[in-house]
Amino acid sequence: MLLIPCPYCGLRDESEFVYGGPARALPDMDAQTPEAQHSLYRPINPRGPLRELWYHSGGCECWITLTRNTITHEFEDDLS
């Protein structure tokens, strides 16, 4: 179980969170189809650091953006 550094609540167990996938901005509201497609399907699948979203459903109910290494699972974010 990952230990996730929530910037609002501190280190918390993964079971308190819902994964939100790689950080991927919604396209602009007036975006055309190709732009929207690029935004939604652009591959973000690195071996290594990945900026991703977690939702702290069992805590502060905030969406947080963290950088985690997909090989080691270490978070690069420092709470201090």
């Binding site: 994964y19 939604l40 591959p43 699948n45 071996r47």
Partner: protein
């Protein structure tokens, strides 16, 4: 010399030291017609059918590690074709037909056992959805039945039908032809036959780059040297993004861990593959007696090939709901594989924007059951240049077109599939 009881006896007589090697160890040529990247079940099946059906043998299979060492070695060995959408059904239905004859085709016992696949429904509403799937299968030529509780009891006496459960069982979909296949044997059998036909298989041979000019594939760079080729196939599961990325191809997928585990071996107690549907848990008993169990993905991106023990706990909790006696057995080993999961949870198979370069990826944790069919269809594509019907629905451009093959209807969120 082929494999048989007679050859076993003969070799036993000679101390089992004269057996031919599984695959030959040739020197790498500089030119091949086709390079298959990835020596897992899918890649090796493609090699086999290229030789068997089309007589093409000037082919190299480049495997970064050992043959069958990726998800072929890590899956829970289940084969079935119980899908509502025709795309998924048709390919896996064809695969089942091929599984039936594969032992004889390969002269290698791949141990296909149609012990029956049983998908448990936990409400009447869910059972009606299963009925919809069973009807689709029947109308398309596959056997499928709906089992009520008493039929279930008769078929799996140890299954708990206790109503005093969080999610009681109301019935099940039953596919008699579903079952298990010995996973390692699939890779080895395809490899052996392809090698016998003259195809070169290289282990510890990662691909490091592609030569592409004007959008046309010219060759492949490998750890063992450069290969000039007109066609290549990328079939590397969890590493799809990285390898396709070397050719500048973008795949809408994420690599995510899938957990599996196995209990200590015990005498036969379960003669079917059973699936629990509130939070996934599927299990079967191996010929050696172990219960092999699997579940859904860890739900977050990872290449670690280890991971969430919580998923194992979930899988076991559900397994114990089905089979209370399991709580007295012990977990012997758990492991994970890297599943490549796409934006609609289904495979990406076929041509890429690079002419001559084919892709086979996105199988997530459903790839094993499709192995021979995918190999068969990709062989046709590589040999004839014509896109076969069964893989046509899985083209890479479907996301741009809006022709998703989303069996679960979950949408463009790989970690939820």
């Amino acid at each position: 010399m082929g494999y048989s009881a007679l050859s076993l006896m003969g070799h036993a007589f000679r101390g089992n030291t004269q057996w031919p090697t599984l695959i030959a160890a040739p020197d790498m040529r500089t030119i091949y017609d086709i390079v298959i990247i990835g020596g897992g079940g899918h890649g090796l099946a493609t090699a086999h059918y290229l030789a068997k059906i089309y007589g093409l043998t000037n082919i190299a299979v480049c495997e970064a590690g050992w043959i069958g060492g990726g998800n072929t070695a890590r899956n829970t060995t289940i084969v079935r074709s119980d899908y509502l959408l025709n795309g998924s059904f048709a390919l896996k239905h064809f695969a089942l037909k091929l599984w039936e004859d594969l032992t004889q085709d390969l002269d290698f016992n791949i141990m296909y056992e149609p012990r029956g696949y049983i998908d448990l429904a936990h409400s009447d509403g869910e059972l009606e959805q299963f009925e919809l799937r069973a009807n689709a299968m029947r109308l398309r030529g596959a056997d499928a039945q709906i089992l009520d509780r008493s039929a279930l009891k008769a078929r799996i006496p140890l299954l708990s039908l206790d109503m005093d459960k969080r999610f009681p069982v109301s019935g099940a979909l039953f596919q008699p032809a579903g079952g298990v296949v010995r996973h390692d044997a699939v890779a080895w059998g395809f490899a052996r036959k392809a090698s016998q036909a003259g195809i070169h298989i290289f282990q510890n041979c990662p691909v490091t780059g592609f030569d592409i000019s004007d959008g046309v594939l010219q060759g492949v760079q490998t750890a063992k040297g450069h290969i000039t080729c007109k066609q290549a196939l990328i079939s590397v599961a969890g590493e799809s993004s990285a390898v396709a990325g070397l050719a500048g191809i973008n795949l809408p997928l994420n690599s995510i861990n899938v957990q599996a585990c196995v209990t200590e071996p015990v005498k036969p107690a379960l003669d079917a593959v059973v699936n629990y549907n509130v939070g996934l848990s599927y299990l079967s008993q191996t010929a050696k007696g172990e219960f092999v169990l699997g579940g859904a993905t860890d739900g977050y991106a990872s290449f670690a090939r280890r991971g969430s023990f919580e998923r194992i706990e979930d899988v076991l909790a559900r397994a114990v709901q089905m089979f209370p006696f399991l709580s007295r057995l012990r977990l012997m080993r758990h492991w994970s594989g890297t599943a490549d999961i796409t934006a609609d949870g289904n495979a990406i198979v076929g041509q890429t924007p690079v002419s001559g370069l084919m892709i086979n990826s996105g199988w997530g944790y459903a790839g094993f059951k499709a192995t021979p069919a995918v190999g068969h269809q990709l062989a046709e594509l590589l040999a004839t240049g014509i896109l076969p019907d069964l893989i046509a629905p899985f083209a890479l451009d479907r996301f741009a077109l809006g022709a998703e093959q989303d069996d679960a209807g979950i949408g463009p969120y790989p970690w939820l599939h």
